[in-house]
Symmetry: C2
Subunit: 511 residues, 2 copies
C-alpha cells in the first residue's frame, strides 16, 4: 500500500496494490478539479473523500483494478485523473462456485504465540465467558410484554443484591409461532435460539419463558421434557402469577451466578466475531486490515475467530477457497455460497442492492469492491472450518461463519456460534451494540472518531493519513480486546448500554 506521511492539506490518495489502476482520495472534504498530487497526477474532476480516481487512461471494456483484483470494467473511456462513478463501471459476474474446489489448498502456516491470557468466567462445558449475565430466553414473541416488565423489576429489585452479576438480558425475538416450523429452513432459527440459550456469557444457567401453545416448544428448545428451567405463562395464575414465578426463578439463578469470579484463562478461550457495517472506501484500507492483523494475532494465540457476511464475501470467494485448510472446508464454503445464491434468486433479490446508499456515498462502487475490502478483516490465517448460520463452532482458529451481512442478523448468528467478543468496523458510523457480548467499534476515518468520540472505541483512520501503520492499530486493538474481555475496560456501547435487538435469520415463510 503506498501512502505518504500526513502533511496538512497535501493531496493524498491510497493505492492498495501495485497493479491497481485506481486509487481513493484520502483528504477530508474531497479534492477539487485541477488538484495536483505530489506524484504529478492531476484531477480532471472533483473527487469526494473515499471516492476513486483513475491513475491511467482506460478504454471501454478495460478492467478496473483495486486490491489487485478486477472490481469491474470501464463502461466508457475514462481519462487519467477522472473520478470513477458507479455508472462508469459494469459489474462483473461472481466467481463460478463449482470451479473453486481444488485438489490441494495452499495455506500459510502461522507462527503460534504463547502466554496471552485474559480474565474470564470459566464454564463447566469448557467455554469461557467475558461477562456474567442472567440470560432469559423466549420461545415465542408473545411473551415479550410480560418478560420486559419482569426483567425491569428483576433489574430494579433483585440485581443490586447480586453485584457480581453484570446484567439481566431478555432474549427477545420474533420467532416461535406463526412460522413454517417444519420447513427445511426452519432449522436455522431453531438452532440459533438453542445455541443463544447456552451462550458462554450465561454461566451455564438456562432460563426459558414460553407461552405454552407456541409451535417452537420449550421441550424442543431444551431437547428434553425437563421443565425445571421453564416458565410457561399459560400455566400461571394471571399476570401476578407470571411475575412471581419469573422473579423467583431469576433470583435462584442470580444467587448462583453471583458466586462466580473471573480467573486467569488462556486467550485461546476467546471467540471473536468480526463484522463491518456502514462501510466506506476506507474500510478496506484502514480498519479492516488492522482487524485482520489482530485476527491473525488471535489465531496465533489459539483463539477462535469468525468472519461472515455472505453477500460481502461472495464476489471475493475465489480468494478464500485457496485459504481453506482442506478440501472438506472448501466444499463447505462453496455449499454455503450456493445455498445463499439460491435463497437470493428465489426471492428475486437484485445484486446491485448491496452496497447500500451510504456505502456508495462513502465511495464503494459495487459489491465486488465492498467484498474485497470486507474479507481483509480475516487476515491471512487458514480457514479451519465453515459454520452454517447459527451453528456452534467446535474448533479453534479462523472460521467462516456464513451469515447475512445485515449487522444485527450477523451479530445474532455469531453470538449463537459462541462469540464472546465482537469487533465491528464502521466508516459511515453506527451506534451498534449487543447486550450479550461486548462490541468494540473501530472507525475507518479520523473524522468519524472526532465526530463520534463517545461511541467509537478504536480509530484506524490514522492509517490513511500515514500517522499509524496497520500493525500499530492492529496491536492496539489486540490489547484492547484483552482488556475488554477481562472486564478491565468498557466499550462505549456497554458504557451507554446501547444494545441492538436480536434478530433471527428465518428464511422459511410466516404462516
Amino acid at each position: 500500500m503506498s501512502i505518504s506521511k500526513k502533511q496538512k492539506s497535501t493531496p493524498l490518495y491510497i493505492k492498495v496494490h501495485e497493479s491497481d489502476n485506481v486509487a481513493i482520495v484520502v483528504n477530508e472534504g474531497g479534492l477539487s478539479k485541477d488538484t495536483m498530487f505530489p506524484c504529478g497526477l492531476k484531477l480532471i474532476d472533483d473527487v469526494p473523500q473515499g471516492h476513486k480516481v483513475s491513475l491511467t487512461s482506460l478504454s471501454i471494456g478495460e478492467p478496473i483494478i483495486r486490491y489487485g483484483e478486477i472490481i469491474g470494467y470501464a463502461r466508457e473511456v475514462l481519462q487519467k485523473g477522472s473520478r470513477i462513478k458507479e455508472s462508469d463501471v459494469s459489474l462483473p459476474v461472481p466467481p463460478t462456485l463449482s470451479e473453486l474446489i481444488q485438489d490441494s489448498t495452499k495455506t500459510e502456516e502461522m507462527e503460534p504465540i504463547n502466554g496471552y491470557t485474559f480474565l474470564g468466567y470459566e464454564n463447566n462445558d469448557g467455554s469461557v465467558g467475558t461477562k456474567n449475565i442472567l440470560g432469559i430466553t423466549t420461545s415465542v414473541q408473545c411473551v415479550v410484554g410480560v418478560l420486559d416488565y419482569a426483567v425491569e423489576r428483576v433489574k430494579k429489585e433483585l440485581l443490586p443484591h447480586y453485584p457480581n452479576v453484570d446484567d439481566v438480558v431478555a432474549l427477545n425475538h420474533n420467532y416461535g409461532c406463526g412460522v413454517a416450523i417444519d420447513a427445511d429452513d426452519a432449522a436455522i432459527p431453531i438452532r440459533t435460539v438453542q445455541n443463544l440459550m447456552k451462550h458462554p456469557n450465561f454461566g451455564g444457567e438456562v432460563m426459558v419463558v414460553g407461552l405454552g401453545c407456541e409451535k417452537l416448544t420449550t421441550s424442543q428448545l431444551l431437547s428434553s421434557d425437563d421443565k425445571r428451567d421453564v416458565v410457561l405463562l399459560q400455566e400461571e395464575q394471571g399476570f401476578h402469577g407470571m411475575l412471581e414465578t419469573i422473579m423467583k426463578m431469576a433470583e435462584e439463578k442470580l444467587k448462583r451466578l453471583n458466586k462466580r469470579e473471573r480467573t486467569l484463562c488462556s486467550l485461546s478461550n476467546l471467540v471473536v466475531g468480526l463484522q463491518c457495517g456502514g462501510s466506506d472506501a476506507f474500510s478496506g484500507v484502514t480498519a479492516n486490515p488492522a482487524v485482520g492483523y489482530a485476527a491473525d494475532l488471535l489465531v496465533r494465540a489459539g483463539a477462535t475467530v469468525f468472519f461472515s457476511e455472505v453477500t460481502e464475501v461472495r464476489d471475493a470467494v475465489h480468494l478464500l477457497t485457496p485459504r481453506a485448510a482442506n478440501e472438506d472446508v472448501q466444499r463447505k464454503l462453496v455449499k454455503e455460497m450456493e445455498w445463499y445464491d439460491r435463497y437470493l434468486e428465489r426471492g428475486k433479490a437484485d445484486r446491485s442492492a448491496n452496497p447500500s446508499p451510504g456505502n456508495k456515498k462513502g465511495g464503494l462502487t459495487n459489491v465486488v469492491e465492498k467484498a474485497l475490502g470486507s474479507i481483509v478483516k480475516s487476515g491471512r490465517s487458514p480457514i479451519v472450518d465453515v459454520l452454517a448460520p447459527g451453528e456452534k463452532a467446535t474448533k479453534k482458529g479462523l472460521h467462516y461463519a456464513a451469515t447475512p451481512a445485515s449487522d444485527f442478523v450477523c451479530g445474532t448468528l455469531q453470538l449463537a456460534s459462541g462469540m464472546n467478543l465482537h469487533v465491528f468496523t464502521t466508516g459511515r458510523g453506527t451506534p451498534y451494540g449487543l447486550a450479550m457480548a461486548p462490541v468494540i467499534k473501530v472507525s475507518t476515518r479520523n473524522a468519524l472518531k472526532e465526530q463520534w468520540h463517545d461511541l467509537i472505541d478504536i480509530n484506524a483512520g490514522e492509517i490513511a493519513t500515514g500517522n499509524a501503520t496497520i500493525e500499530d492499530i492492529g496491536t492496539e486493538l489486540f490489547h484492547y480486546m484483552i482488556d475488554v474481555a477481562s472486564g478491565k475496560k468498557k466499550t462505549w456501547a456497554d458504557y451507554w448500554k446501547l444494545h441492538n435487538d436480536l434478530c433471527l435469520f428465518n428464511p422459511a415463510p410466516l404462516t
Copy 2:
C-alpha cells in the same frame, strides 16, 4: 347451535350446525368413557375439554362435518360416541381458487344503526385517534439502542410536563438495511412502515430517526426530501448530540400533541382489527361468534372492520367469496390467497404446521376446522374491500386485510392499515398487547378468565355453558369497545403496559 342450560356436572357438548356429525365437549377437565349425555349419547372414549365426539358412526372415507362444513374424512371406522383424534381425520384439499369467482355475489344487506359516538382525537386528515401518542419511527434497526435510551429519557424528563399525551412509542423493527430493498416483495415492509408512521393515534406528528446510510432512506419513507421531521444519527455530534437532537424534536411535538383534546366523534371513525391467537375448539363457538356479532354492529354503525390471517381463512375462503360486495373484491381476495399459496410453496411450508401444538391440545384437529372457527369473527356483513398486507383502508365497512396469522405480524399490519382498536380472542391464553392501539382480549372459556383475571377483558366462555348468548357477549363487547376507544376504560394490556414488539412482514430475502 344446540346447547343446554348449565347444570353443575351435567355432561355437555356443543353441536354448531344441524348437519354436524361431531360435537365438542364443554365440561372442564373433559369427560370420561361411559359418560352418558342427556340426549342418550354415550362416550366410548375419554374426551378432553374442547375435543370432538362422533355423534354417529362413520365409515372410512365418510365426511366429518362441523360448522355445517366438511373438516375432513374418516381415516378409519369411527364408532358413535368415540373421540375424534387428529390421526383419524384426513385433511381435505383447500378450495380451488380459480373456481371461486362468480358472476354475481349475494350479500346480506345490513340495517344501519345511527347515533353511536365515542370520544376520539380528530386528525387533520379526517382520521380519528383512540390515543394521543408521540410515535417515533425508525428507518433501520441500527438506531434502536440510541432510540430506546432517548425514549426512556423523554418519558422520564419530558412526558410528565405534557399530561394530555398518553405515551411515547418507538416504532422499532428489524427492517431497513441488509434487505433486498429492490425485490418485488419489499413493497410490503416499506409501505407498512410508511403507513405505521402516519397512524391515527400519532395526531399527525411524524418523527423519524434514521442512521443515514441505510437502504430504506428517510426520503423514501417520507416520500420527500424534507428533513424537518428527521434525525439522522450520522449527522449528529456523537451520542450526546444524538440525544439532544432527539429530545428537542420530541419536545416540540409533545407541546403540540398536548394541546389536543377528545371530542365527540361518530362511531364510523372506529377502525377495528379482529384477530385470534392461541385458539381452541371453543374459539369458533363462543368468542369468535360474539366478536362477529359486535363486528356486524360496528359495520351497521358505519365503522371499518378488518379480519385477517390468510392461513386461517384459506380453507374456508369458499364461504367468503360469496360475501364479497362485487366481483372486483372477489378477485382481490382470490389474488391475495394465490400470492400466499405461492409464498408458502416457495418456502416449502407444511400445511399441517397450522394449527399449533396448543391449538391441537385445545381440540382443533386441522387447519380447516381452525379456519371455520376463525372466519366467524367476521360476522355476516358484505366484504367491501380486500387489503394487501400493510395497505391502508380507504373505505368503511368490513374488509379482509390479508396478513399472516402470526399474532404480532397480523397486529403490526392491521395497525398499518389504520386500525385504532384491536379485538383479540384467545382460548389457550396470550398476554398480547400493542403500544400503538388498545387491545381488548376476549376469552373463549370461563376457566381462562378465572385463571387470567388480570389479563382478560371480556369473557365469552359463558356462551358455552349456556349462561349467556352470543348476542349478550357481542353487545357487551360493543359497548366496551366504545368505552375503551373513548379512553374511559383501560384494557388490561394497557393497564400493565404489556406490549408486543412490532414485527414487519418481509417476504423478500435478507442480504
